[in-house]
Amino acid sequence: MAASPASLRLVRAAGGRELTLLAGCLLTVLVFSLASPYFLLAANLATIMRNSVELLIIGLGMTFVLAIGGIDVSVGLVMGLGAIGVGQALLAGLPLWLVVLIGPLCGTLIGAITGSVIVFGRIPAIVATIGLLGIYRTAIYALLGGSWLSGLPTGLTTLVRMTPAGVPLPVIVILLLYLLAYLLLRWTPFGLHILAVGQDEARARLAGVAVRRVRFLAYLASGCLCGIAAVSYVGTYRNVEMTTGASMSLDAIAAVVLGGTSILGGRASLLGTLLGVVLLRMLVNGFTLIGVPSLWQSVVTGVLLLAALIAENLVSGQIPWHRLRRGAA
């Protein structure tokens, strides 16, 4: 039986973008598995999953930030700062539960700084976070003193590598976080407020939404998630360098935008973010396997981001074709 129009509508409403992304992911798998015999090996797929963990968590926070119509180019360094906190706590021999808490605590604190500057200082998010990027980078330098934390105790690593009921702990944490975010976004007034603020701030304010509080909380949540990512990072790699997290911000923005969350705010897709992150990480992994130096990574990500946005504008008819033909007149 042919699909009825109603079910077609449902598919489109549920995720035209998600389906496109899924197709993109499958295509990527196909291409790379043909190009390299190693791509589909279980060990390689596990590596891709392993490399996605931090970006999945940070991307979740970025989804909220973009959904309210904001942006944050400093999230990678927030994770770096959180990782320093976690690393120092490990070195100081604090109990494990406290170490695990320190990550989100640091992250939330920095998220509060970012949020205050943007929301209460009333500074455009992009400019504020470019400025904060410089400040956080200096802070990382000051805290690490030009060297790096390495040879950290293995307590956290054992925790991160735990597999209760056969499922790796990071997977459980990520699924829980995404479930929580989904419930928050779809089933609570707060979720509605986030989308309302992103859609039209003035109208949301008229409707009685505490716009500033909602925006601030989005940055706070993003900071907290960066802190959680930091715990995973330190547990996995057991070292913290000056460049930890440096490339994470663009990756997060690209993944979330690829996933269909609007850069203008008002639209968020958690499943899209998930697929976007997986697609990005598969591309990086695949390119490395076929011998492209990892330096090309940011070129690929940047071009992919731009291509996705242009495609979106073309499909939605925002780019008038006659203007393209005539040049930029």
Partner: protein, 315 residues
């Protein structure tokens, strides 16, 4: 003091005085002619990049985050072309053309493809900067001919040659265009109110497209200076320039939403930012601290618009 532009310039002047005072108190020897000369020397590239940034922001076209990437990639591509056999005499022309093209790519993305300027130039920043690193593997590209070096390193009348021949004419032209020509009025008008500018028939899209090209051209010029100065193309030469140029433009009294400000303040702010960096260098403070200080300045410049300047009413 009710005029917000005067307020911004007051903040700039205060910061200048505070900086000079602090440096002089810590190390009086800092006040010497050679110091001023080296500040001018270091400020040329940022001044050019900042001018393009300032014009874009003035016109309300948003900002250009990719300036640093453009400088790096232009320097690299120019030198790679020379190594591939293009005559070295063409270096100046090559740098300008490549910079212009990279800037026009931004223009196409923002104006023709209607992407948000911040996300479009964020994408090209990583694409350009990444390309500069990826093409060279992070190594410098040598091969700058000897005749270019005196321009990059020497002085004329006590002023660095490249500052005298590029920055001063560029700022004079920009100031004249802004103050005296219809084009300048248009740029300010469309930054002030895009809708009414369109209604009175100003070709907003076309002018902004051109301004993205100008930003690229000036970045190309900055890349040329870096070539003549260092004698080689460095893939990381433009790193952090988006932060520094935004700080300079906003400290210089240009309103972030556009329509208000001038280029004179921008030049003063560029000298402030570079002077601060040079001073910290002189005091043997690691360059890693400079980034944080510039970031702080950027946020301070924007916060100053928010301060309740109550006393101003009584003045």
């Amino acid at each position: 003091m009710k005029n917000p532009h005067h307020r911004s310039l007051l903040l700039l002047a205060t910061l200048w005085l505070v900086m000079l005072l602090i440096f002089v108190l810590i190390r009086p020897a800092i006040l010497q002619l050679s110091m001023a000369e080296s500040v001018l020397h270091f400020s040329s590239m940022l001044a050019l990049v900042g001018l393009g940034q300032a014009l874009l922001i003035l016109s309300g076209a948003g900002m250009d985050i990719s300036v640093g990437g453009m400088v790096s990639l232009t320097a690299i591509l120019t030198m790679m072309a020379v190594q591939a056999g293009v005559p070295a005499a063409l270096i100046p022309l090559l740098a300008l053309v490549i910079g212009l093209c990279l800037g026009l790519v931004n223009g196409v993305l923002v104006i023709s493809c209607r992407l948000l300027s911040l996300i479009a130039t964020l994408g090209t920043m990583f694409a350009y900067g990444g390309l500069a690193l990826a093409l060279t593997g992070g190594a410098t590209v040598s091969g700058v001919p000897g005749w270019l070096l005196p321009w990059g390193r020497g002085t004329l009348l006590g002023i660095p040659a490249h500052f005298l021949t590029t920055v001063m004419p560029a700022y004079l032209i920009a100031a004249a265009v802004l103050a005296l020509t219809p084009l300048g009025r248009w740029i300010l008008a469309m930054g002030n109110n895009e809708r009414s500018a369109r209604l009175v028939g100003i070709p907003v899209g076309r002018i902004r497209f051109i301004l993205y090209g100008v930003s690229g051209l000036l970045s190309g010029l900055a890349a040329l200076i870096s070539l003549a100065w260092f004698g080689s193309g460095r893939p990381d030469i433009g790193t952090n320039m988006e932060l520094e140029s935004l700080a300079a433009v906003l400290l210089g009294g240009v309103a972030i939403a556009g329509g208000r400000g001038g280029v004179g303040g921008v030049l003063a702010a560029v000298l402030l930012v570079v002077g601060l960096q040079a001073g910290l260098q002189y005091l043997n403070i690691s360059s890693s601290w400079q980034l944080g200080v510039v970031g702080l300045l950027l946020i301070l410049a924007l916060l100053s618009d928010r301060l309740p300047w109550r006393f101003a009413k009584r003045v």
